[in-house]
């Protein structure tokens, strides 16, 4: 009886802890590297994301209320947390610190277990997926996201954000989310999907560089590298390897502590799939 077989097989199927190397039957493990030294904070990625993913422009009032929908946002900080011990000067000597923030696609995501209807779940591609039409809008996931990268449709934006003919721009590969649905960066899953589809039609594997996220594609300084972490030939894997960042650990054991790779709030054990490379300043 396959029912019982499922039962028995699944009992501990995915239960492999980090110490045991984690679960490794992923088809892909999409990951990213963002070089904060190259990132100029120009916002091109953010607008590209609006264009690719049918993000609603919420307007002045709603933005003021904090209801903006920027899946990719560039944060700008003024302080210099760990560069030398200079006194506080009256000018901003080292410029600003820009931080492109989108869903970190955590492998041990805090949003997934709390979703009451499993609308947030982990895919075999290592993505932290959000199924819009399953979402009931409890917003628990957003509350539990330490990065605050989930955005909620507080209104039905369809009419206000895309007055005709702006609606002709809408990407048919991704739904326009209605009110009451949680949404977030998907690593441009529609692009991943269509590339995988093309590869499968040709009975081949997806090659590195074939899938480009909208933000990566437009980034004027190519600060964003995206690819499959399981593909050892991919740029993203090489960069993770070079900077000695690893999945499956809360504290990176680096031979060389000066290497720039780090993941945001690693200590929370969320296992983000995005490695940031530290910003550099010549002082």
């Amino acid at each position: 009886m396959s029912l019982v077989r499922n039962f028995i097989e699944d009992w501990s199927r995915y239960r492999r802890s980090i110490d045991e190397g984690g679960f490794h039957e992923y088809e892909h493990m999409w990951g990213m590297v963002i070089d904060l030294d190259k990132c100029t904070g120009c916002n091109a990625c953010s607008v590209a994301c609006y264009a690719e993913n049918n993000l609603a422009v919420v307007g002045e009032d709603k933005f003021e209320n904090g209801q903006g929908m920027h899946w990719m946002r560039i944060e700008r900080y003024w302080d210099e947390p760990n560069i030398g011990n200079e006194r506080v000067r009256d000018t901003q000597e080292h410029g600003a610190s820009f931080m492109p923030m989108m869903c970190q696609q955590c492998n041990s995501a805090t949003c997934e277990p709390v979703c009451p209807v499993s609308a947030a779940y982990h895919t075999p591609d290592g993505l932290n997926a959000q199924i819009y039409n399953r979402c009931v809008g409890s917003r628990y996931c957003a509350n539990n996201c330490p990065y605050r990268l989930r955005y909620f449709n507080f209104f039905s934006y369809y009419e206000d954000s895309w007055p005709s003919p702006l609606d002709m721009q809408l990407n048919p590969d991704i739904t326009v989310r209605d009110k009451g649905v949680m949404e977030k960066c998907t690593f441009c899953v529609q692009r991943i999907r269509s590339t995988k589809n093309a590869a499968k039609m040709e009975d081949r594997q997806v090659v590195d560089g074939e899938v480009q996220t909208a933000c990566q594609q437009t980034c004027p300084t190519s600060a964003i590298v995206f690819g499959d972490l399981l593909d050892h030939e991919s740029d993203v894997h090489k960069l993770w390897h070079k900077h000695q960042t690893r999945l499956g650990t809360t504290k990176q054991k680096k031979d060389n502590p000066e290497l720039r790779g780090y993941r945001l709030y690693e200590q929370l054990n969320t296992e983000p799939s995005v490695t940031y490379l530290e910003r550099v300043r010549d002082v």
Binding site: N6, E9, E25, R134, Q190, N197
Partner: protein, 232 residues
């Protein structure tokens, strides 16, 4: 006097029927009830573990109910679709059945795109420039053509906008990658989800095309189970 203090613990057991026996029944009921209530979802015995792709051939055991053609388990479910009024009452039976025109001849995008597509009007006119030009339906078609317009066909098989379905991959799996099938028999593949269009004039929806319909077929035929594969 603290009368309430005396609780009724001095009850004696009078075996009306054996409670042990009843509990044994309960254990069984709980077990079966739990399993069946949750597990009876979908195709019952056909429930295959969703993740592992069994190697080809392994699934071809004898107790597998046969589909309409080898290599596939037909999805279950029927639906009584209504008759849709089309601008021109297109006779599928005449084209596909009587004249044995292959489905893919007109719905040519099906093998290379997510959508099967309605044939362009030029394709209709390719034949009907000469064939049956005196029939009223063809006259109507010619009218459209001469106006430089396409007939505004009504969608019969429509999926909600959050669903992504690709024709090309389904055709690839069931037809082109299926050694037991040939392109001539594509109508049998189409019929899995579209019903026997060959016997209809205007197409009617004959399969429910609900998520359950899809998932049952995916279970039976080792399709993918990742939500994101089909939900966009």
């Amino acid at each position: 006097m603290k009368v309430e203090a005396k609780t009724c613990h001095e009850q004696t057991h009078r075996p009306l029927f054996t409670w042990t026996r009843m509990w044994a029944v309960l254990v069984l009921a709980g077990l079966l009830g739990g399993l069946s209530l949750s597990g009876s979802s979908s195709a019952g015995e056909l429930m295959a573990p969703p993740r592992v792709h069994t190697p080809p051939g392994a699934a071809d055991s004898a107790d597998e109910p046969l589909g309409p053609f080898p290599g596939v388990v037909a999805p279950e479910g029927t639906y009584e679709g209504k008759n849709v009024e089309q601008p021109i009452e297109f006779p599928h039976d005449l084209h596909a059945d009587t004249n044995k025109i292959n489905c893919l001849y007109c719905h040519t995008y099906a093998r290379r795109s997510a959508v099967a597509g309605i044939p362009p009007t030029s394709k209709c006119m390719g034949c009907h420039n000469v064939i049956a030009t005196d029939r009223p339906r063809i006259k109507k078609l010619t009218e459209y053509w001469e106006k430089g317009e396409s007939p505004p066909w009504k969608k019969v098989h429509d999926l909600p906008d959050y669903v992504r379905f690709t024709h090309e991959r389904h055709l690839k799996k069931f037809l082109f990658d299926n050694p037991d099938m040939s392109v001539e028999r594509v109508d049998e593949v189409c019929a899995l989800c579209h019903g026997n269009v060959k016997k209809m004039t205007v197409a009617r929806k004959q399969k429910p095309l609900t998520m359950g319909f899809c998932t049952r077929c995916h279970e039976a035929n080792d399709g993918p189970f990742d939500c994101q594969k089909c939900h966009k």
